[in-house]
Symmetry: C2
Subunit: 421 residues, 2 copies
């Protein structure tokens, strides 16, 4: 395709008229589609409907009556399931609750209220958290709830700009932590390299209580090929910084976001500290869903096989999005993107200053996209160019319709931008 940025004003106006006409046709349809959130579609949820079925026992393998109080860090069979799946020793796991985001929030709360063991509470200090961007909006709103300053660092294909991360962490003791989505990052779908993970684990930090918030949300969420996140708990331990990393995972995008299992993993010392606070806040997480999950999947291989079935449902959606982007924008100079390696999203960058206008135009035609800027702290994308496409929720027909419209919106806004020059 030819490079639109080289077009004359006349050519652009012609393209605009044609594109506007097609956009208006779409708008007239009164669509109501949502491409905004990383929610699984009904077909994916249906794969787990067995979890809605009856449980034929209420005894854990250790004899515990799962209906009653107790077992605050998770049923042994649930710990084994995730230990096998993630390669993390059971002693390093706290399994429970339906949300890894809640574990993240709680870890932040404990750090701010009490400090990591042996250190001052973060609430009594200036706290800066490094935020590789584009990133996950809920990490940022969570961080912001605690009043921590969010420092944007560029996210590359293989992880954050580590030269900058090392510099910031080494020079400023108020830099207390960093968010990392190691595998199939939200929204770029990239994978952190082993080398960058090792640098994170071993780098010198001015803050003695620097922490890595390692959100392995897409740890087994392959689409085309299987990849594995670096083992951050092992890397930090080997570097003599065993307490540096908190590892988060959940089954929200494996079975049911509305009733799955979250977990947090860390060094045994960190787990003991977390467990001690959790023991003041609960007499035990819901154990019924834990036993149900174990019975439903059987073992870690059962989860792996389940994720392959999910991949079969997601692959055509991702292929369609990527195919459309390639067909419509390759060589146009209007849009850049790197195909994700897996996960839940496709991240695209428009010409500078176009993202908000694209999202607004799509909304006018009934298609909700993730808010422009959401992938940056305070929704402030300095280039106003990043848009996160979440193709998992709509079915393929809806997705096709939505993508056609999105293409028109990007073209229209881009033409206007080019006409400005």
């Amino acid at each position: 395709m030819s490079d639109w940025t080289t077009y004359s004003k006349e050519e652009l106006l012609e393209l605009k008229a044609e594109t506007q006409k097609r956009y208006d046709e779409y708008k007239a349809k009164g669509l109501k589609l949502d491409l905004s959130r990383g929610k699984p579609g009904s077909d994916v949820l249906d794969l787990s409907n067995g979890l809605l079925g009856a449980l034929d026992t209420y005894k854990s393998e250790n004899g515990t009556d799962i209906r009653n109080y107790g077992v605050p860090t998770g049923l042994p069979e649930a710990k084994k399931l995730f230990s096998d799946l993630l390669g993390i020793p059971a002693a390093n796991l706290i399994v429970g609750g339906n949300s890894s985001l809640t574990h993240m929030y709680n870890v932040f709360a404990f750090l701010h209220l009490f400090g990591p063991k042996g250190f001052a509470p973060w609430s009594k200090q200036k706290v800066k958290i490094l935020c590789p961007c584009p990133g996950y909006d809920r990490h940022f709103t969570l961080t912001d709830d605690f009043g921590a300053e969010m420092v944007v660092v560029p996210l590359k294909e293989d992880g954050p700009d580590m030269d900058l991360v090392e510099k910031l962490a080494a020079e400023d003791e108020s830099v207390k932590g960093i968010w990392i989505i190691p595998l199939y990052s939200n929204p770029t779908g990239g994978i952190i390299s082993s080398e960058k993970a090792k640098r994170l684990a071993s780098m010198k930090t001015a803050a003695k209580d620097f922490r890595i918030f390692w959100d392995n949300a897409y740890g087994v969420h392959h689409i085309w090929e299987k990849n594995t996140a670096p083992d951050i708990l092992k890397l930090t331990a080997e570097a003599g910084n065993a307490d540096r990393a908190y590892y988060f995972f959940s089954t929200s995008k494996i079975n049911f976001p509305g009733g799955g299992i979250g977990l947090v993993a860390a060094s045994e010392e960190n787990v003991a500290e977390l467990a001690a606070h959790y023991a003041k806040a609960t007499i035990g997480f819901d154990k019924i869903i834990q036993l149900k999950t174990v019975k439903f999947f059987g073992n870690a291989d059962g989860i792996v096989a389940h994720m392959e079935r999910i991949a079969e449902l997601l692959r055509p959606r991702f292929d369609h999005v990527l195919g459309t982007l390639h067909k419509e924008f390759s060589g146009t100079g209007l849009l850049t993107w790197t195909p994700p390696k897996g996960g839940y999203f496709v991240s695209v960058d428009t010409l500078p200053g176009c993202a908000k206008a694209v999202v607004a135009l799509a909304k006018d035609a009934g298609v909700v996209l993730t808010g422009a800027g959401a992938t940056y702290p305070h929704k402030a994308d300095p280039n106003d160019s990043n848009i996160r496409i979440a193709p998992t929720y709509p079915d393929l027909d809806e997705l096709e319709e939505t993508m056609e419209l999105l293409v028109l919106c990007i073209k229209l806004v881009s033409i206007d931008k080019l006409l400005e020059v």
Copy 2:
């Protein structure tokens, strides 16, 4: 029965020899019984086994797919169920999670991290919390986790010593709150009077952000007769202190402690504030258990009927404990107690300085009681006399055996105490 405190040394020694012989016989049996925690027994849990059954729909009445993300403050039908049961408008409820204790912890965390709206964070101030005693050990360990000072105030049959509470709250602006279990208090089984609730709701407090932590844990847990807790949200609103009370409730002792539903209620402003923080910590509580609970009970009357069935199972246990205490200790001068009006516990007071020894002696014979002192902050019962009996978990046979042993332990330790004089 005659008053043992008037016995001669010889009489006491004779009683001691006889009691010791019977204690040794029990000890030889190698019992392993637990009267320590307020856990429901298997027969009570069995009444809710329907919750382990299959769910034949995954749609909420508002069309929400309960398997997916969303609905952060609870399903509308779950809110309606508890609204009807507790007489609290749905707009004042956040329903979700499996533990009211977790809501209490989170409210404390939010108050300490962020302060109530318009006030400074509690973590930046000296905080004292009034603790009517004897009280619930987990309230105290939770409070202590935040480093707040716990100020003991005597708990009377109709609620805390309000003259003292009013004085402390009026004089000291570091007095920020009070724990109240309004109905069938843990461990005394008393009920706060409407008059005392009204005084709590309307009293002058030096701290403008004074809070009542109203843990209605036993709100529908009748045994012999139905009683109702005063409506603290209404009373505080009427007194112009709408934001003063946080109300907690759960189904842990209605259906399953290992998989029930917790809730927090408050003024609409407080709910908005809590919900805003919760929205940063979760994309929605487990909705599957919420819909299951609604389907299982049908409506509030269904819960009331269910609690009557539980009462039928618990009544013989409580009758046995109270009958035994009456038969063995009435008029002896060794033990005082007030029969609970409902709930989950029987609270007794030994002669001063005996409780720890009684608990230790019972443990030697294989019977675990709630640790002596647990009903006071830092486990420090100034009289070393309060013991909480939790008769809900063992079956009647076990309970009979346990009570016989407990009687012997109380007698033995009391005789030794009388011989000291």
